[in-house]
Symmetry: C2
Subunit: 263 residues, 2 copies
């Protein structure tokens, strides 16, 4: 198994329980990436309900995840014709992540498609800014995936925030690993926070909750991604994501809610 498939493997150990391991190197400042943790918990639930695709999954983050063994407890709530619903909870010393999801088997629908907008207009990957990992910043996690940032969202091109809470760019897995719908759960949480470009005194914004909707299985190649924050208010901010494949298909939408720490 290649990188992400191996790092999200969940082995059934009976009675709806799975054994997995948070692998080193998937962290940001020591804490495992939230999309990565969601991917592990969703992989276990998808296996339990025997449906490969996370149609809609929501993670609430309880405690930081550190490298080491974890257990995922799953519970099937409904198994219907098109979809199945399951809970999965990842636990180490205590509960780390709680996930509620609907899983299915995605097929090209064909019959009714209407899009109000298309994929983000990005410069080619070679004209975008690659992010390579360091032991601190950019974090080790960047070595597990590959992203290229649009220089127009200027922070990573010029060191100066663009002033707009937006990040766009390309995503793929390293070593030509194929991107399945579980890997899309990593893609929606892989980019630098939008607020880094907002030119506001927010250095850290812990995610409370992340929801991803997966619409289709991606074609091979780079994914085009765009993340935007429209509302910083009430002590919270949302980050909305869109992920499109190389054929121009919308493959995932995401929204996360993050805390704005009190200054």
């Amino acid at each position: 198994m290649k990188g992400l498939a191996s790092a999200t493997a969940a082995v059934p150990i009976g009675a709806g329980k799975y054994s997995a391991e948070i692998q080193p190197g998937w962290d940001i400042m020591g804490n495992a990436n939230g999309g990565y943790l969601l991917a592990i918990a969703a992989r276990a639930a998808a296996n339990e309900v025997q449906r490969p695709d996370p149609v809609s999954v929501t993670a609430h983050y309880l405690r930081p995840g550190m490298p080491g063994p974890v257990t995922i407890e799953t519970q099937v709530l409904r198994s219907g014709r098109r979809c199945a619903v399951a809970r999965s909870t990842m636990t180490a010393d205590g509960p780390l992540v709680a996930v509620l999801g609907t899983y299915g088997t995605l097929e090209p629908s064909g019959h009714l498609e209407r899009l109000e907008s298309g994929p983000p207009d990005l410069p080619p990957p070679d004209d975008c800014i690659p992010i390579e990992p360091t032991e601190t910043f950019p974090p080790p996690f960047m070595g597990r995936i590959e992203i290229r940032l649009d220089p127009a969202d200027s922070l990573h091109a010029t060191g100066v925030p663009s002033g707009k809470a937006r990040v766009r760019g390309w995503f793929r897995l390293r070593h030509e690993e194929p991107i399945d719908t579980i890997a899309l759960l990593v893609a929606v949480d892989a980019f630098p926070p939008t607020i880094f470009n907002a030119d506001l005194p927010i250095a850290w914004s812990p995610t409370i909750e992340l929801t991803a909707h997966v619409r289709a299985r991606p074609q091979p190649g780079w994914l085009r991604c765009a993340f935007t924050t429209r509302f910083i208010s009430g002590g919270f901010l949302e980050e909305d994501g869109e992920v499109w494949d190389e054929s121009g298909t919308l493959v995932a939408q995401s929204r996360q809610l993050a805390l704005v720490p009190k200054g």
Copy 2:
């Protein structure tokens, strides 16, 4: 207790369990409104964690809810300084709705606010279209709440869909009942589906999942609401909502994922 407070009352019966009742009249074609069911389940969880406000709650809909007694089983997963996380599952003969949520105590934050856009620009309530209930369509549910639709989203003004999957309007509870943050969970699912205005052969689009983020407690008065669908693709559509109070504060954001039935 007034209408919604009474209709969402959840009485603790021990060991994290609550007794409640799906009241008649909160239905659309016989099935209880999804936001109403979420409000009942969130009310129980909020009580269990002793935090009044549903900061981020996600419901997955398992089976239609019919009038009658239900049980809500809650489980607290984490109780921290600012937030608590809990699951709640509503059951009648079988599980109806599964909810995962983070609850807190919302306070005006003041310290950092940035909004990329403001409340929707609506004609005054008296110049909008009131929707009154019938036994079929508009459904009985409309008698429990009060909405006034912007005539620009023309279906309900002219009988002709506007062609754009958007619905905007005003929301309040009947009989001057105050709107708390649990009632906002009803507001985000109270309007006619956006796709009714899309002029597409979609008559019915069952909700798989609904997530609401509550940013603030609303001031008394009407709420300004806007719901938009941008992507009908892959056999699914999303409906994004924004709810603002009369003082111009963003009080809630929502997104739901619905199935597009095969034609």
